[in-house]
């Protein structure tokens, strides 16, 4: 086991490199590991129509330093392009849009490679592009799209297990949908810091118990300074022990007990001072609700534990090997491996550092146990210990995306969304407008997809296309309004809506490429009139 020794020599005192300086504001979000993933990604945009939303997406990936992008688009630049697309200018008129956009995008970041197809004016041979290019990490395409191009992309995606994002932006509306090749697990989900403290007050391990006992053995004999600096973790462990002695071994449970327990702790604080109390005791009382509760599994981990992996390739991935080891750990100990982080609390420096090292040591011990299980299991021999460490640290917050079956029956979705709109309306009436829930964006999705291959469709044509697939939709008033709004745009993009959508798609791509934060599952529909998104699994 590799013990992390607190370094005795000062760390290298060098400033950041030029690259670290340029990427400083994003490295604070996804660190060097995320940046490396981004820099080795190779993405393809299959562009068409008004052509802006895909290019706006690329802009947001070129700036943070994506490895390589390729634009496949055989359109020639016309006047209308100049009114919506920022990565073209007067000199682009009549030239290949793919080439012009690639060159102006590349100016944004000399470290990024860009390429375009076709090389000469003429029709795009997408199959040939896919055959002759290095493997793509991710493909995005924009609607409207030729049916044969869509089929080519889908064939490539299923052969190479490539994630595909489809995007459609028209007028004030847009949606994008992520199709991942299988379940997509994320370990480094970046939960909010406030949620991550795991102090194990109800199931402490011997070293922690011993430390707390030692400090509080003569708590009343401590001088005022020492008493005012006992860390709240120790205070709570001490009074929990007292509580159990007077409650036949039971911990405080439920609201009433916790209130009583809070009073017990408060009575322990000294009041012979100008403040009339002690800050560390106040911290202890404030920590009761969050930290004195039986450990329970977050829904995300539960899903990981219960998920039946059906795909051979996935089964062998290190994620599932480690997940099985963690599940085994959980069944053996009744809790997940300790993450090991200690929040700040009032304490003397040396006491805090000692307490911190007790948490860290336990976390290392737990991770070591998981590592041994992994190494002993099939496919786990060559595991990278840092991968196990990261998993143990984040075990409570791991998440699976694309694990549930897709909602293929649009009629069912229609009924659910329609019912929830009716419920929202009823609530608005009942509360005289004080409470109103947002209307469903699902109808926007239906109307946009109805124009996927026919951008100039009229409202009547849109509704008729929808009712062919979803008969329930006939006569629905909001759908009719939305269809009129989509028809109004006539397949044209508004720059702002495409810029918003391009921003969202780029964020999601960064999450998928870096395997950090949590991507949508799986369709995001944006309404630029009410300024709202809705995510649905479709």
């Amino acid at each position: 086991m590799t013990e992390i020794v607190v370094s005795q020599t000062p760390p290298m005192l060098h400033g950041p490199t030029e690259k670290e300086k340029k990427y400083d504001r994003q490295l604070r979000l996804w660190a060097a590991s995320g940046q490396a993933a981004l820099e080795s990604a190779n993405i393809l945009l299959v562009n068409s129509g008004a052509g802006t939303v895909g290019v706006e997406t690329l802009k947001n990936l070129v700036l943070p330093g994506i490895g390589k992008f390729t634009i496949a688009d055989d359109a020639l630049v016309n006047e209308a392009d100049l009114g919506v697309n920022f990565f073209l200018d007067e000199s682009s008129l009549g030239r290949l849009r793919s080439e012009c956009c690639t060159k102006l995008l590349q100016e944004l970041n000399p470290e990024v490679q860009g390429d375009w197809f076709p090389k000469e004016k003429g029709p795009l041979d997408l199959a040939n592009v896919l055959e002759t290019s290095p493997i793509f990490t991710l493909i995005i395409y924009t609607n409207p799209i030729r049916k044969e191009d869509l089929a080519t992309i889908e064939a490539y995606s299923s052969q190479h297990r490539t994630p595909v994002i489809s995007i459609h932006s028209a007028g004030f509306y847009s949606y994008f949908r992520i199709a991942l090749p299988g379940t997509f697990p994320i370990v480094d989900t970046h939960p909010e810091v406030e949620k991550t403290a795991d102090l194990r007050l109800l199931n402490p391990w011997p070293e922690l118990v011993e430390f707390a006992k030692e400090m509080t053995r003569n708590i009343d004999a401590l001088d005022d300074h020492e008493h005012g600096h006992v860390p709240y973790v120790v205070i709570l462990l001490h009074y929990l022990e007292q509580w159990r002695q007077s409650h036949s071994g039971e911990n405080p449970n439920g609201f009433k007990d916790k209130t009583e327990f809070g009073k017990l702790v408060t009575r322990g604080a000294r009041t012979n001072n100008p403040e009339g109390g002690e800050e560390n005791f106040q911290e202890a009382v404030a920590a009761i609700n969050k930290n004195i509760k039986a450990p329970e599994l977050e829904a995300g981990v539960e899903e990981v534990f219960n998920h039946q992996v059906s795909d051979e390739a996935e089964l062998e991935s290190m994620f599932w090997v480690i997940a099985r080891a963690i599940k085994q750990f959980y069944h053996k100990h009744g809790c997940l491996p300790l993450p090991g982080a200690l929040p700040d609390m009032k304490a003397q420096s040396s006491v805090y550092v000692k307490l911190q090292s007790i948490y860290k040591a336990k976390a290392r011990k737990d991770a070591q146990e998981v590592l041994e299980t992994v190494r002993a299991s099939p496919g786990g021999k060559d595991v990278d210990p840092t991968e196990v460490d990261l998993f143990c640290k984040n075990a409570r917050f791991v998440k699976l995306i694309n694990a549930k079956p897709r909602q293929l029956n649009l009629s069912q979705v229609f009924d659910t969304e329609k019912a929830s709109d009716e419920e929202a309306e009823a609530m608005k009436v009942a509360t005289c407008g004080a409470f109103s829930l947002p209307a469903s964006n699902f109808f926007i999705y239906l109307a946009l997809t109805a124009t996927a291959h026919n951008p100039a469709a009229t409202a009547e044509e849109i509704v008729s296309t929808i009712t062919n697939a979803v008969p329930e939709a006939a006569g629905h008033e909001r759908l009719w309004q939305v269809a009129q709004e989509v028809a109004r745009a006539g397949g044209g993009e508004l720059h702002n809506i495409s810029a918003i959508t391009g921003g969202m798609v780029a964020q999601e791509m960064i999450k998928i490429i870096t395997k950090q934060y949590i991507p949508i599952d799986d369709t995001c529909i944006f309404d630029g009139i009410s300024s709202r998104c809705q995510v649905l699994r479709l």
Binding site: L27, E56, E79, G83, W480, G528
Partner: protein, 429 residues
């Protein structure tokens, strides 16, 4: 008629014109006549900030067919801007942001006039702000937001409809951001919503001085205590790598002394400069959302945020989540309200304690307050002669020494907001 272009091939603004010239189901009553549409051609729009949001806003407004745009920014370009401020290149480092951004967009989008102002918003007066129809803000400073908000609210003359300038404000942090639309005096202003920004509580000095526990405590110690004691350079320049390196070394040595790990150069810089992570994609979302509202207001092509929901929050860390809120105007808002705020204090408090508490109160956030009560000056920050005269009052208690009582009117001012007067009615706990 402008639509004749359709017969000779697609016109530059054909996509936008579909929306501008054809009312939809949500703006059936909009006037789409040529005269109404021509108003947008004449509209002057002001962009405050040419940074991460500002660059995007300029692009988005130009491609929303705004033709007369002004931009104000006092900053020059730094290398750490290049990962998102996409109008700037390596060679532009050191030049004024407003100037470079304006020139770039003007060149790229023909027919757009962009006027750059390299300066502070506080350098301009009411006459300057009066010339615009809409103001779009992409700022990272709360103080600047409060200043422009107070300016625009004060400018409103009920007799003159043109004096009311819609204010559209965007902000981002990491994967999150927000857009809000304010119709000064008619809808809640930035000051009404000030409690949305919780001021960060400072780490107590005694923790920094005697019981550091976190790497941040060591860095703050180097920043606040060691620097003041040793003054290695005359003034701390947070952008000078030599200065940051000095702080980093001091903080590292202190951390080692106390057995604390985690002090890095990057963390030192982050703590000292209070760096907020920023990426291109979030800026793109929020800036375009602001400009979408500007376009809706200018053209009535669809209902805008403002009178009902006025605030859109975007969060992209965990899936995507947006929510739109409706806020209420605060009747005791210092900027747009009519009545004094209640101020409940401990009568035994000293004047200094009271003034210090104003920095942390979410609805005040004043760093250099001066105070009067019942017409009498209790403490003034400026000029130095009066500061010296009133300084002894700082240690006095409110009730016993200074004679304040329940129901007294207390008036507070701060040099950051010269046009604002914070009025309170005192009560005791």
């Amino acid at each position: 008629m402008a639509t004749t272009a359709a017969s000779t091939g697609p016109s530059r603004w054909q996509y936008l014109d579909k929306i501008r010239r054809n009312p939809g189901p949500f703006n059936q009553d909009s006037d789409v006549g040529d005269e109404a549409l021509a108003a947008q051609d004449k509209a002057k729009i002001l962009v405050i900030g040419a940074g991460g949001l500002g660059c995007e806003i300029l692009k988005d407004l130009a491609l929303s067919r705004f033709k007369d745009i002004h931009v104000i920014d006092m900053d020059t370009i730094d290398i750490s801007n290049l990962n998102r401020q996409f109008l700037f290149r390596q060679d532009d480092v050191g030049k004024f942001k407003a100037e470079v951004a304006a020139a770039f967009v003007e060149k790229r989008v023909k027919g757009t006039k962009i006027t750059a102002h390299n300066g502070r918003i506080q350098d301009f007066n009411e006459d300057f702000y009066m010339q615009f129809q809409i103001v779009v803000c992409g700022l990272d400073s709360i103080e600047a937001r409060r200043w422009i908000n107070a300016m625009l609210v004060n400018m409103v003359d009920m007799e003159d409809q043109d004096s009311l300038k819609p204010l559209i404000d965007g902000g981002t942090e990491g994967f999150k951001g927000q857009t809000r639309v304010i119709f000064p005096t008619l809808t809640p202003c930035i000051e009404c919503q000030l409690d949305l920004y919780t001021p960060r509580a400072a780490v107590p000095l005694c923790t920094l001085a005697t019981i550091p526990r976190q790497p941040e405590h060591c860095i703050e110690w180097a920043h606040i205590i060691a620097w003041e004691e040793q003054k290695p350079f005359p003034n701390l320049d947070k952008d000078d790598p030599e200065h940051i390196t000095w702080l980093y070394q001091k903080a590292s040595a202190r951390a080692q002394e106390f057995g604390i790990s985690g002090v890095t150069y990057s963390l030192t810089q982050g703590v000292v400069k209070n760096i907020i992570p920023a990426i291109a994609s979030t800026n793109a979302i929020i800036a375009a959302s602001c400009c979408n509202e500007a376009l809706k207001i200018a053209t009535t092509a669809a209902p805008a945020l403002g009178f009902e929901e006025s605030y859109m929050m975007y969060s992209g860390d965990d899936s995507i989540y947006t929510s739109t809120f409706k806020y209420d105007k605060k009747p005791d808002c210092t900027v747009c309200g009519e009545v004094a705020k209640p101020l409940q204090v401990d009568p035994k408090m000293t004047l200094k304690e009271l003034l210090d508490s104003f920095a942390l109160k979410a609805d005040l956030q004043l760093k250099k307050p001066s105070i009067r009560a019942e017409g009498k000056t209790l403490y003034m920050q400026f000029p130095p002669s009066i500061e010296e005269q009133t300084r002894p009052n700082l240690e006095k208690t409110l009730q016993q020494d200074l004679g304040l009582d329940v129901g007294h009117e207390v008036v507070v001012t701060d040099p950051a907001f010269p046009t604002l007067t914070f009025r309170f009615i005192l009560s005791f706990v």
